[in-house]
């Protein structure tokens, strides 16, 4: 685990750049990650996705399935990729401070 410092905050991150613990998440983290995720400025739509992910995670302890995310936000999957170019799992979950999605290749 490597540590990064940004605006006076320190974050532990893994090799894919995911935050080590959801508890250390703060809005500064989003600011720090956005450039590497190909996002210039965050809009309300970005925040809507991030909030939905965090609410679901707090309630269920896991990230929602993609289908649930598109249903709750009302955004089509393709649009979510426009908001977060590296996708809902890699980009949006990373920004929201959720643990790295696991999955079979």
């Amino acid at each position: 685990m490597a540590a990064v410092e940004f605006k006076g905050k320190t974050f532990e991150v893994d090799e894919d750049g995911f935050i080590a613990s959801f508890d250390t998440w703060c809005p500064e983290w989003v600011d720090y990650v956005k450039a590497s995720e190909g996002i210039a400025e965050l809009t309300d739509e970005h925040w809507k996705v991030i909030n939905v992910l965090q609410d679901y995670y707090k309630k269920h302890g896991i990230a929602p399935m993609v289908r649930i995310l598109t249903k709750v936000t009302g955004y089509k999957l393709k649009y979510i990729y426009e908001l977060f170019p590296s996708g809902p799992g890699k980009g949006a979950c990373k920004m929201a401070g959720l643990p790295k999605p696991t999955g079979c290749v």
Partner: protein, 424 residues
């Protein structure tokens, strides 16, 4: 040149008459430090009987959710050159027809930006490019798409790269244009291929005839297998020539010296439905009872050919053992014409995906969902009428349920009252 790591156990795998992946990697290791460390990490795994790859890295290129499989070594201190060793899947052209120029260019890209190691091809059908670092992913993706006109394939919970047999390009038995079908499906379902939204992986595979050269029936959630609904074409003269020893059985696939074909033992007796007869002069086939196993056609290709009213059978649900055991696909649509633009098939796929995405649990393959909810629920969701051809032995195993609403007059069933009358 001496390599960095001692690999006594891997060296064992170079002995014997077989080709060896160790020898292949060693060849590349002479010029690529990545391949050298790859040998080292594998030797260590053999020694400790434990893998040293971390599972489930999440890397990719912008805009896509699949196509790159993240791999990190958990001993970067010992093997720094394979600290990142990501795999890229490249969508192969339909039926794997390449120009040598494209293959050379892919290898050039990989030599410069990756480990130099490739796997032609993975079991999904894609070209597998083994081992690169995160910072090289976007440059490789750019060159593949902009300079070669190639694209990444599928990985994760999305549509996997569709795959088809050689089809009409080189095979006279192909009942459908597998190359066109695979190309069309690939282009139509780009979104599903690159942006994972499914409960789990989904595979289309397409074979031109029931010999099923890509094993679609065993390896794909939706198998498209060419077939015909009229009669097998017979050239009686050629049948007699096989029996007279003028032609090689199996087109010489198993032997090279001419011999007389024992039609009774080698063809008639092996027909699974016993629908053939040889009267000493002519071969007769009771086509109504033919199950299109292709055995007779494969043995006597110059005498027998599939019919001319061709199309495909659509089967669903095959998978390797993960949650449940391995399964073969089951017939869902016994016959479909399968002609461009394939609208009838795509309508079916839409209904199928809607059903699976609505009811499928996370990481549940379509075949497992059908098993859990029953074929009836699946057929209803896809608006398909049950048919005896969906069942292996319909007279012995009639598992179709009738819905009271579908039967004129209907009936009422009270389970409580039933138990009263049948106590034991």
């Amino acid at each position: 040149m001496a390599l960095k790591h001692q690999t006594p156990m891997l060296d064992e795998l170079e002995k014997g008459p077989w080709p060896s992946f160790v020898s292949d990697i060693k060849k590349v290791a002479a010029r690529k430090p990545m391949a050298e460390d790859l040998l080292g990490v594998l030797e260590l795994s053999y020694k400790e009987k434990e893998g040293h790859w971390k599972h489930g890295g999440i890397v990719g290129v912008f805009g896509y959710g699949g196509g790159v499989i993240g791999r990190y070594c958990d001993r970067p201190d010992l093997f720094p050159n394979v600290a990142h060793f990501h795999t890229m899947r490249v969508n192969q052209p339909a039926s794997k027809f390449y120009t040598t120029d494209v293959l050379r260019k892919i290898c050039d890209i990989w030599e410069a930006k990756g480990s130099g190691l490739t796997n032609m091809h993975g079991s999904t059908g894609d070209i597998i490019l083994l081992g690169t670092t995160t910072d090289q992913l976007e440059p490789i993706f750019y060159e593949l798409t902009h300079e070669l006109g190639m694209d990444l394939g599928g990985s994760g919970s999305n549509l996997r790269t569709p795959e088809g047999c050689v089809g009409k390009a080189r095979c006279e038995w192909s009942c459908i244009d597998t190359q066109d079908i695979i190309y069309d499906l690939t282009m139509t379902f780009q979104d599903e291929l690159h942006r994972p939204a499914f409960p789990y992986k989904f595979k289309f595979k397409c074979s031109g005839c029931p010999n099923d050269c890509v094993a679609a029936i065993a390896r794909s959630d939706c198998s498209i297998i060419g077939t015909w609904r009229d009669d097998i074409r017979i050239d009686q003269e050629a049948v007699r020539a096989y029996i007279g020893g003028d032609f090689l059985p199996h087109a010489g696939g198993h032997e090279s010296t001419k011999r007389a074909l024992d039609i009774q033992a080698e063809v008639i007796d092996l027909c699974p439905t016993h629908c053939m007869e040889w009267d000493g002069k002519n071969l007769k086939i009771d086509n109504k009872n033919c199950v299109r196993c292709m055995h007779c056609i494969t043995i006597m290709p110059r005498a027998l050919r599939p019919g001319v009213d061709t199309g495909a059978t659509i089967l669903c649900g095959a998978k390797a053992p993960i949650l449940e055991g391995a399964q073969l696909s089951s017939v869902i649509i016994p016959f479909i014409k399968m002609e461009a633009p394939y609208d009838e098939f795509k309508d079916f796929v839409d209904k199928l995906w809607n059903y699976w995405m609505e009811h499928g649990k996370n990481r549940e393959r379509l075949g497992e969902l059908i098993q859990r909810q029953g074929l009836g629920a699946f057929l209803k969701a896809c608006e398909i009428t049950p048919d005896p051809r969906m069942i292996n032995t319909p007279r012995f195993n009639p598992y179709i349920f009738y819905d009271p609403a579908d039967v004129p007059g209907g009936w009422e069933h009270d389970p409580k009252a039933f138990r009263e009358r049948h106590q034991a």
